[in-house]
Amino acid sequence: AQSVTQPDIHITVSEGASLELRCNYSYGATPYLFWYVQSPGQGLQLLLKYFSGDTLVQGIKGFEAEFKRSQSSFNLRKPSVHWSDAAEYFCAVGTMDSNYQLIWGAGTKLIIKP
């Protein structure tokens, strides 16, 4: 069965520092890959997605993610975080085997130190 793992429950980063949030999936082929962000009391907002093509994907708010087939990973990065980036980040995948429904990771909570 397909699964999504976000190994870090919490990550603390200083404002201005770089960020990498990890996401690994379990699936035999290339899935559709998404990163969503959820700010406190808000719904989920799409940051970026990968369907095919260039494995480095640019998203909103200065985020990017890289698909690495060999590592079954889709890690999210940002070169310099801002206090407003404090939120919870969810990785999700959609596959033919899941009838293209999204399978979600448990999320990583990003804490920004001033």
Partner: protein, 117 residues
């Protein structure tokens, strides 16, 4: 374009009471989803509609949860009777795609935070 609307934003009820949540998807979106998100977890799909038909309700606790999407637009999710473990955020999402096609972007509403006492 207007986003996905949900109401109410917050609801507090006693166990064994009933509650209903409303969702208005983005205009023209064929597919509507209801998710349950328990604190500290990712969203769990409860039910998926395509227009006004149910595509998947395999994870909906049908003894207490029901949902409908009248006329293929608005949707209502009901819990009757509520249990303590139903305390969660209920998220509605919509997407353009028809079921069975490649995964499409889902757009989420702000959610309804339910507390069952």
């Amino acid at each position: 374009e207007a986003g996905v609307a949900q109401s109410p934003r917050y609801k507090i009820i006693e166990k064994r009471q009933s509650v209903a949540f409303w969702c208005n998807p983005i205009s023209g979106h064929a597919t509507l989803y209801w998710y349950q998100q328990i604190l500290g977890q990712g969203p769990k799909l409860l039910i998926q509609f395509q227009n006004n038909g149910v595509v998947d309700d395999s994870q909906l606790p049908k003894d207490r949860f029901s949902a409908e999407r009248l006329k293929g637009v608005d949707s209502t999710l009901k819990i009757q009777p509520a249990k303590l473990e139903d305390s969660a955020v209920y998220l509605c999402a919509s997407s353009r795609r028809l079921a069975g096609g490649p995964t499409d972007t889902q757009y989420f509403g702000p959610g309804t935070r339910l507390t069952v006492l």
